[in-house]
């Protein structure tokens, strides 16, 4: 199997207009992934599947990742004129990095499986934000196996896949409104008696006590 860099070069040769970039993985596994531009994702996915050299015909896994927005505090060196003398002053700058949702696909090739197996080819797509612009193109038309897993991502993370043949909730019921795998999900206060509450459970017990006024 080709490395992520080689696949990236192949995509750039075949589809020069598609925005694809390498997301490096600094860990020892070095499982780099390819981040697709949602506008061209379907074209790139079809290329990856149909290209005889790559023939990535099997999507083994699709999952979601939630990246909440975070406030980053940075120390920036700024030149300022203090008392008529130009000096370098360190200033603390806070900026808010917008969060986004991510869909991750793992691809293998059944056709070339007899060669070496060097892990999956990882595709990523990111939404614009976490609230209203959460559409991504569905890759189910390319890999049929993504159908239920995209439904699961829709259910648990709230990514809306455009072009999906049957986008409904799959694990939670239809009337359910939350997305439980999002980092800011607050589960209902249905705490019940625990013989030895500790850590997170103790916090929930105390919260429940404060909410309901039940004294124990």
């Amino acid at each position: 199997m080709k490395s992520a860099e080689e696949i990236l070069a192949a995509i750039k040769t075949a589809l020069p207009e598609a925005g694809v970039e390498l997301v490096p993985n600094p860990s020892p596994s070095a499982q780099h992934s390819l981040r697709l531009d949602p506008a061209h994702a379907l074209a790139v996915a079809s290329f990856l599947r149909n290209d005889p050299e790559l023939a990535l015909d099997y999507c083994s896994n699709a999952t979601g990742v939630d990246w909440p927005g975070k406030e980053i505090t940075e120390k920036v060196k700024v030149t300022k004129v203090v008392d008529g003398v130009e000096t370098i002053v360190e200033e603390t700058v806070k900026r808010v990095q917008a969060g986004y949702l991510e869909a991750v696909y793992h691809l293998y090739s059944m056709k070339h499986a007899h060669r070496e197996i060097a892990g999956p080819v990882v595709l990523r797509m990111r939404t614009v934000n976490r609230t209203d612009q959460v559409e991504l193109p569905s890759l189910t038309p390319v890999w049929r196996s993504a159908e239920f897993q995209e439904r699961e991502i829709f259910d648990l993370f709230g990514i809306v896949f455009t072009g999906h043949p049957d986008l409904r909730r799959i694990l939670m019921w239809d009337g359910f409104e939350d997305h439980p795998m999002r980092r800011d999900y607050v589960d209902p206060d249905d705490f019940e008696y625990e013989p030895t509450p500790h850590d997170e459970v103790l916090k929930r017990a105390e919260q429940h006590k404060a909410n309901t006024g039940v004294t124990a």
Binding site: M172, W173, D174, G175, F191, Y193, P195, E200, V201, K209
Partner: protein, 213 residues
């Protein structure tokens, strides 16, 4: 009025068989408790093993697993009850004819088990329906299920047919239907049936209070 055991044996030696209506009635009931063919998770595998030749639950009168709640007397809650499944479990229980019994099998069925703090698992089926016998274990061995079944048989045998402790099907005023929870926007509504499950007060000190509200 019960017959004294010694007198019964003595009369039996003389060829006289003495019994009471409740004895005959409960003897018949306890030896033909038919469970419903209904499994939820991995505990169901142990339940299936219990019915097979090695453990053979049929020896105790649980002869056939009925695929319809209308023909079943016993509901074995074998496995995790998700919040998506809970309304269907209560609905099946409502569809069973009286007298009906429930065995909650395994850690998940009695308390939510390892998934207790999760967003999608019910913290025990006894929030919505009355449970007669609880079996701990993850999953319980077939012997544990047989023991629970024998416990249930002993309970049926000891039930008086009149008075305050009489079974629900002999009490015209007893509640027969249990409210089926609705699947709401964030959780099941109501999250618990207070008539069945008076919630023990939560303890934050680390010591069990052991008292009910």
């Amino acid at each position: 009025m019960a017959v004294e055991p010694d007198l019964k044996i003595e009369l039996g030696k003389q060829g006289v068989f003495v019994t009471t209506i409740s004895e005959i009635y409960n003897w018949g009931r306890k030896n033909s408790v038919w469970p419903m063919q209904f499994g939820l998770a991995c505990c169901a595998i142990e339940m299936i093993a219990t019915t097979m030749a090695r453990y053979d639950l049929a020896r105790f009168g649980a002869e056939v697993f009925r695929p319809s709640p209308r023909q079943a007397d016993l509901m074995i809650i074998s496995g995790t009850i998700t919040k998506k499944m809970a309304p269907q479990v209560v609905r099946l229980y409502n569809q069973m004819a009286e007298p009906k019994y429930v065995i909650a099998m395994g850690a998940c069925a009695i308390s939510g088990g390892p998934f207790k703090q999760g967003y999608n698992v019910l913290k025990g089926i006894d929030r919505y329906i009355p449970v007669d016998v609880h079996i701990p274990g993850c999953p319980p061995r077939p012997e544990a299920l047989i023991h629970a079944f024998m416990t249930l048989q002993a309970r049926i045998d000891a039930q008086p047919l009149t008075g305050g402790d009489r079974p629900r099907h002999l009490d015209a005023d007893a509640q027969g239907l249990f409210p089926v929870p609705e699947q709401g926007a964030h959780d099941l509504e109501p999250p618990v049936n207070r008539l069945v499950w008076p919630l023990p007060a939560p303890s934050t000190s680390g010591k069990p209070t052991g008292s009910c509200e």
